[in-house]
């Protein structure tokens, strides 16, 4: 592809329209990647290409901007739950949970143990389903479609469990400040969850065979999109991407919340910092998530109420929160997901500001990593960074 030849007439035509192919040197042109591309998911990158090499990448987000932070300022606290979970679509429990954690902190509530157990389980289930979604996307990008077919089918089992627990399929609207909205539907649900965990665990071997051990995957990812430790820290890279450059930072260990201090799990760390390392770290984390879910099921849900008892909750539309501010964050599959909330004592939050992991992964880091990469590596870099455009836009 190095000597890409653009027909002369087309070049003349394009010059007339002054864009699309801007001939700087012989093979230099501008390429619009997305938003109508499967890998980018509503996100556009303007690539300045030199032949097949990317000279410069300019990220153009904003296709999903809905102004959540403004809308959240205009709605009561509980109502916001139905709104802000749309920030992270594959893992919609994460925004719910951080929002609830922040409100709990300002209110000074002790959330009941049963609610804590349910929240932890829901978060881990959300992580697992997000991993399945990621396997699907990643498999499709590197051309191993079979893994994607399987992952999407296994994810449906988790979706079904979510449906029975929360009443929603994708948007659960389940975790609210002070607890959760419904109780566990019964022991049958717990048994089903255990079955599903066992099932996915047994299928992990198949994923290894077809995707993670596959030499195609190694060839596509090895040495692509390398970053070093200093770069990663300066660019606020978090989550599996940071662990792939040798920093063992995991919010669940370093700023523990919910039941995580009592759970036993490992933090995988690799030093290479290329796409392959990021993939392998993720693969190991899937195992750990299954292990955590098993531990949670062994622990069993403690008895008691699933919602905090507070007379203020009698009138939900006018539920007031005292003045104050709080920052809460959890470990999502994409990285450190946080929220900064300011309350001024009324029934609406004064300011809610979200910190999506893709805000750093998807803009500056991506622009840096794409410099000098080949065009065919763009989807690989996008998917191994696990870029999620709604995080950036909100």
């Amino acid at each position: 592809m190095a000597n890409l030849e653009v027909p002369k007439e087309l070049r003349e035509e394009a010059r007339k329209h002054d864009m699309y192919l801007t001939p700087i040197s012989k093979d230099t042109y501008e390429l619009f990647f997305g938003p109508q591309h499967m890998a980018t998911e509503n996100f556009s990158i303007i690539l300045k290409m030199d032949g097949n090499r990317i000279e410069r990448a300019i990220v153009n987000p904003g296709f999903l901007h809905r102004g959540f932070e403004k809308l959240a300022e205009q709605r009561p606290y509980f109502t916001n739950i139905a709104l802000i979970l749309r920030i992270c679509v594959p893992e919609s429990d994460v925004p719910e949970n951080i929002y609830s954690m922040a409100v709990d902190e300002i209110m000074g509530w002790e959330v009941p143990e049963r609610a804590i157990w349910i929240r932890t389980t829901v978060l881990e289930m959300a992580r697992l389903s997000a991993w399945m979604f990621w396997i699907m996307g990643f498999g499709n990008e590197i051309g191993l479609y079979t893994a994607g077919q399987w992952a999407a089918a296994y994810r449906e089992r988790l979706m079904r469990l979510f449906e029975e627990l929360t009443g929603g399929r994708v948007y659960h609207i389940y975790t609210v400040p002070g607890g959760v909205r419904r109780d566990i539907p019964g022991d049958r649900w717990l048994r089903q969850l255990r079955d599903t965990v066992e099932y996915i665990k047994s299928k992990l071997k198949d994923f290894d065979e077809i995707l993670f051990d596959n030499y195609i995957m190694f060839e596509r990812t090895e040495g692509v999109g390398v970053m070093d430790k200093r770069f990663a820290l300066k660019h606020a890279v978090t989550g599996p991407n940071l662990r792939a450059v040798g920093v063992p930072y995991d919010v669940r260990k370093d700023d523990p919340y919910y039941l995580y201090p009592e759970l036993d799990f490992e933090v995988p760390v690799l030093k290479e910092g290329d796409s392959l390392a990021r993939v392998l770290v993720r693969r190991y984390e899937i195992e750990q998530d299954l292990y955590i879910l098993e531990q949670l099921l062994d622990m069993g849900p403690p008895s008691g109420p699933y919602m905090v008892q507070d007379p203020k909750l009698k009138n939900l539309p006018r539920f007031k929160v005292p003045a104050g501010d709080a920052y809460a964050h959890v470990e999502s599959t994409k990285g450190d997901f946080g929220v900064y909330m300011v309350s001024n004592g009324t029934h609406k939050p004064y300011r809610v500001h979200f910190r999506g992991p893709s805000q750093s992964h998807g803009v500056t880091v991506l622009e840096e990593l794409l410099k000098g990469a080949r065009l065919a590596d763009v989807p690989v870099i996008l998917k191994t960074l696990d870029n999620c455009p709604p995080d950036i836009d909100r």
């Binding site: 079979t146 009443g167 929603g168 609207i173 030499y215 370093d254 201090p261 490992e266 030093k271």
Partner: protein
């Protein structure tokens, strides 16, 4: 309190690449497919799936809690006239062009009048008469449940909503029966007492400002101009 961070490195995380293993996927050829063959096979939503609303008109006290908690402001309190008699309290009218199915309205309902069923399926064309279906006063839960049991496909219980010029609405249910009532006005406070002309005029006025209808008018005008 916290456990010491258990960090594992290369020895556990790294795997070897393989040329042979990917072929093992072939064994899936001999397994049972997971596909649900939709027109022939059905899958049921989970019990207590958050679907369309139901409303017990007798229980509803018209407190507008549901309207206040709604994140989309999809709920509007409506004054109805059934069989020539005005209902004592306003009832919520739910717009599915807005509703997010969070069911916070059901949670806050103090009398339990507002409820929900598992029915989730409603599809129409894009024209204004069709979209009339998206805006309804929910009907009694028993009726919805009965229809669901009869047809078993979790569709919207109303087939067609007929709107007459004087503000009368006729709900044609799926089993052929109809519910007929008149909408007198909107809001928490009852419409003005000397009824015969004023409320109807008000509703008519209200309807006229409805966006899509306006568009339709414009479109028709355009068409005429074009012709």
């Amino acid at each position: 309190m916290t456990m010491p961070a258990r960090v594992v490195g290369e020895e556990k995380v790294k795997i070897k690449k393989s040329f042979v293993k990917p072929w093992m996927g072939i064994k899936y050829l001999f397994k049972k497919p997971v596909t649900i063959k939709i027109p022939f096979e059905k899958i049921e939503p989970a019990p207590k799936y958050r679907g369309f609303h139901t409303l017990d008109w007798k229980k509803c006290v018209g407190c507008n809690f549901c309207g206040q908690i709604c994140p989309a402001r999809a709920i509007e309190m409506t004054w109805l006239e059934v069989d020539g008699k005005m209902e004592k309290r306003p009832h919520p009218k739910v717009d599915y062009g807005r509703c997010t199915f969070c069911q916070f309205c059901v949670d806050v309902c103090p009398t339990g009048a507002l409820g929900f069923t598992e029915a989730y399926y409603l599809s129409t064309g894009g024209s204004e008469e069709d979209l009339e279906l998206f805006n309804w006063v929910p009907i009694h839960p028993d009726k919805v449940r009965e229809l669901n049991e009869k047809f078993g496909d979790y569709r919207f219980p109303v087939e067609k909503i007929e709107k007459k010029a004087d503000g009368t609405y006729v709900y044609h249910l799926r089993d052929g029966s109809t519910i007929e009532f008149k909408i007198l006005g909107y809001g928490i406070r009852p419409p003005k007492k000397p009824t015969p002309t004023k409320p109807t005029a008000k509703t008519a006025e209200k309807k006229e400002t409805k966006p899509a209808e306006k568009k339709e008018n414009v479109k028709q005008a355009e068409k005429k101009e074009g012709a």
